[in-house]
Symmetry: C2
Subunit: 272 residues, 2 copies
């Protein structure tokens, strides 16, 4: 039996999705079909959602679950009438917060993820631009402006982690590959020597690296398990000798790697 | 008066932050200091959080607010003893879900943002790689594999939006600039003609574009208000003539632009 889960919001639905996803992972054995309905900000759109919920209930033979973040009480009341278990996030949390803060909430829609603050927005964009122009060691120029420089062998997860640090936290994150020539000599790339304190390493298990590289260049020496094993061993030896902290990215999501680095490095995030 | 807000989690804290941020934006006039404490998964770490909360309470002269996502009931009980308003997300939502689903939750920590599923992870990474290698029109090759191609004048927000679509939704998003030569001729770049149905435009208000470009190249013709106005007018004219839908990225966050495109294009997201 399948259940439909609706994420309903008057804005993007991203918070509702995250809320729902975290909770649904606690019910492993069950099968869910997920549907996000963003920008539900009129009674007409609310009615469309109610109709879609009713249809899913008929098809599934069981009422859907709705995670919602609806600020407008009228729309929320409307959705509460749906044939579903409705868990609205504002409904549950706003009242205790108003009491605690002794302040009425503004009930203004669309305040989160807002670009109202140009300073935040500029910080974010400039971090993304910095990170893209310092991806994969393309340039040594400007590394003095990097807040962190990720190092590791090719395909150890440096690029997505750097981008995540820039996008979510506004951090200028460069990344630089450890290539066979340097690994043979057991040395850091020359361009990185002045910035040793800003380096953070990513490692990975050889089997997983072999798998990732094989998708890119099947049956190459580059992707072979023995070469992956050799490169990783050499990279970890360099990082240990140089006192560069590193973590294993195997089975770790981009979010987890980025958050771990943020906190362990004592980096200051520029965005919340 | 300042209040300290703690985001406490046994994992990254990202869900707690998003939850808290959405709620705090409803209390505009108040001043909050935010602190995230991730990976709180032992009684010792819980005790450190309790101590930090007590210290913030002393310093602020008012008890902090804690948004938490703690799966382990022991840790949660511990944190509930803190001198704070504690709003735990699992505590509030898990019970109604267990009742509705007639299933006990697994109480397993660290299930969200997980890479347990290599297929999801590979999809995400391959979308990011695709997007980076098709940023800013660097190549025409492989545009047949793009699920969407964003177009617009330089600095209209194409790159961050493309990256967000790839990172969050696993979508292969290319982007391609509309440059003065093509705008003069009121035509699409030749490489895009075969893919008109996959195009989506970003526009922006001239004043904002002028401001963004001025940070990059102050006092240039490129950044001048009159040139920005001219380029935007010409770009919108091309998009209208060619039937390319577009939206205004001014005062719109990356999340909002990406979500709007996702839903209006009927793109299928590959990741939740």
């Amino acid at each position: 039996m399948k259940r439909t889960v609706f994420y309903v919001s008057d804005r993007t639905g991203i918070t509702a999705e995250m809320l729902g996803q975290s909770l649904m992972t606690q019910f492993d054995g069950l099968s869910f079909e997920r549907r996000t309905v963003p920008f539900v900000d009129t009674p007409e759109k609310a009615q469309q959602v109610i109709d879609a919920i009713a249809q899913a209930a008929r098809e599934d033979g069981v009422r859907p679950i709705v995670f919602s973040t609806l600020i407008d009480e009228g729309i929320r009341q409307h959705i509460r009438g749906a044939e579903a278990l409705v868990l609205d996030f504002f409904e549950i949390f706003i009242a205790p917060l108003e009491a605690e803060l002794a302040t009425a909430s503004s009930h203004a829609v669309g305040k989160s993820h807002s670009t109202g603050d140009n300073k935040d927005y500029n910080q974010r964009i400039s971090a993304i631009n910095f990170t893209l122009s310092h991806d994969d060691g393309v340039t040594h120029k400007g590394l003095d402006e990097a807040e962190i420089i990720l190092v590791g062998v090719s395909r150890s997860g440096k690029t997505p982690t750097s981008i995540y640090l820039a996008m979510q936290f506004g951090i200028r994150a460069a990344n630089y590959p450890l290539i066979p020539e340097d690994l043979e000599q057991q040395r850091l790339p020359a361009a990185l020597v002045p910035w040793r304190k800003k380096l953070w390493g990513l490692s990975i298990r050889p089997e997983r690296l072999h798998q990732i590289r094989s998708e890119r260049r099947p049956d190459s020496r580059y992707a072979s398990l023995s070469n992956c094993r050799h490169e990783i061993q050499a990279a970890e030896a360099v990082m240990r000798t140089q006192g560069i902290p590193f973590l294993d990215s195997t089975n770790t999501s981009i979010e987890e790697i980025a958050t771990t680095i943020l906190h362990q490095c004592g980096l200051v995030r520029h965005l919340y």
